[in-house]
Symmetry: C2
Subunit: 295 residues, 2 copies
């Protein structure tokens, strides 16, 4: 049976570590790190994500600010909010919760975030620094994946990693991270996507599969080899009237059949999700240290 890569437990350990670091700051008479989050509109899933981030900040002793703007907010107004956050010395890092309303140009908006406060790591300069293996903010989801693999002492060197999906948020950055010269790295990485022919010929030979496709139950036991390591990044809401919320969260991986063959596997929920939030907190702490040391 597969060992569960327990994201909930691991993220709690990381949060405990951060909390201790914050306590030491307070004892030294310093202020705690401060994360701000901007949410535009009323999207239910986005509201839950942002709320979880705010709650996590409180858990570790960070200060947090949630700035809510109505759906109708103009680009100009959002840019002025960003400018204030860039200039505010009491705020170490901030995120603009995506997706933004359709009348806004996400790329244009993200470019305006001060790269030293860009704890989501989506600014091209930070993304480029990651690609070039320089010090930077690594986007939270891929950062969370490398962190959980590292904490379970999984050695990827020389292993064949197959990444399903080429998004800017997960597939592309995790493929770069796994192939670079680094502790959690040195893997041979293949990125597969919607245009890939014969997907199974890749997944079946993979030593590790990272699935970030967003198709519930896509990866089945007969698509992987024995001993495979599986990281499930999918979080799709599937209608389920038997639940109070009316839906359940499903990963890309058919857990029952895949876990029988895997050596390690992340569950959904309780796998990559909590690691993503822990990584955002780590990035915020890094921003705090970076901005204070540059003064």
């Amino acid at each position: 049976m597969a060992t569960i890569l327990d994201g909930k437990k691991t993220s709690n350990i990381i949060k405990e570590e951060i909390k201790n670091r914050v306590n030491r700051l307070i004892q030294d008479g310093k202020r705690p790190p401060h994360l701000a989050a901007v949410l535009v509109g009323e999207d239910g899933a986005s509201l839950i994500y942002v709320s979880n981030k705010v709650i996590s900040c409180e858990q570790v002793g960070f200060k947090s600010s949630l700035i809510r703007l109505p759906y109708e907010t103009g680009e100009k107004e959002l840019l002025s909010t960003i400018k204030k956050l860039n200039d505010n010395k009491e705020i170490d890092g901030f995120i603009i919760q995506l997706p933004l309303p359709k009348h806004m140009d996400e790329t244009k908006i993200l470019l305006k975030i001060n790269s030293n406060k860009d704890v989501d790591g989506f600014h091209p300069e930070n993304f480029g620094r990651m690609a070039l293996n320089m010090e930077t903010f690594i986007p939270a989801t891929p950062f969370g994946i490398t962190e959980i693999l590292e904490r379970y002492n999984i050695d990827l060197s020389g292993k064949h990693a197959v990444v399903i999906g080429r998004s800017n948020i997960v597939g592309r950055p995790i493929s770069m991270l796994l192939s670079r010269k680094a502790k959690v790295g040195n893997a041979t990485v293949t990125v597969i996507h919607s245009r890939t022919k014969n997907i199974e010929s890749f997944t079946r030979t993979a030593d590790i599969v990272i699935s970030a496709l967003g198709v519930p139950g896509f990866l089945k036991g007969n698509m992987v080899k024995n001993g495979v390591i599986v990281v499930d990044v999918g979080i799709t809401r599937v209608k389920d009237s038997s639940r109070l919320k009316g839906y359940i969260i499903k990963g890309d991986v058919d857990f029952d059949s895949v876990s029988k063959k895997a050596s390690y596997i992340t569950p959904v929920p309780g796998g990559v999700g909590p690691m993503t939030i822990a990584s955002l907190l780590l990035n915020t702490f890094k921003a705090y240290e970076k901005n204070r040391s540059s003064k």
Copy 2:
């Protein structure tokens, strides 16, 4: 027999196109694009590369400036040269020929180049823009590869591309370019490198192999399948006392055995090399247009 992907011929066509564009500028009473190159030290290979770039500028009607600094130049002095180039409105783009002397921090230096004049595309912001599929300067060698594939109408969609090498200059950027949603793109891409186990299991199943390893004659006919497309980025000097120069340039690919199985193949010399210079000229033209339109 394989079709030769003729980089010399293709780059000459591109140069001719650029020359016509420059002529139209001159007819319109405008100044031509201007590329500057900085060479620190006396490295023979670097001097040849830079000279070829300067000569190519002349061929297409660009203005060019070569700034030579002694090997002993300090970082501070080089940074002051860069500042002057950044500020000089008559210079559209410039390159710092690599490698720099060992007493200099290349990363630190490259970060100081104005990203709008960074025609080599090595600045993290430009590299990140490439990774995020945004408008940018694409580094000349990977740009040259996509350009020759495009001009030979080679469709990569759904094909399995194996990139040998993970350098910042070639392997990493070409792997991103080939997998993105673009005309020359949509390939399934695997990056293999020094830590990869069983390299041949990847090269033998590849529809296209891009080799940027720097090991002369590494890729042999028995390592590829029939019909493979092969792009050879290797340019290693191998001693040869029968030559006037005392060396010959060798690619990564054992041309004789591989060309018998390939459908398309780039030769060395006359393949990727000339395409790299043509791409630098294209980037310089883009910088010219970009900087003039922003005034």
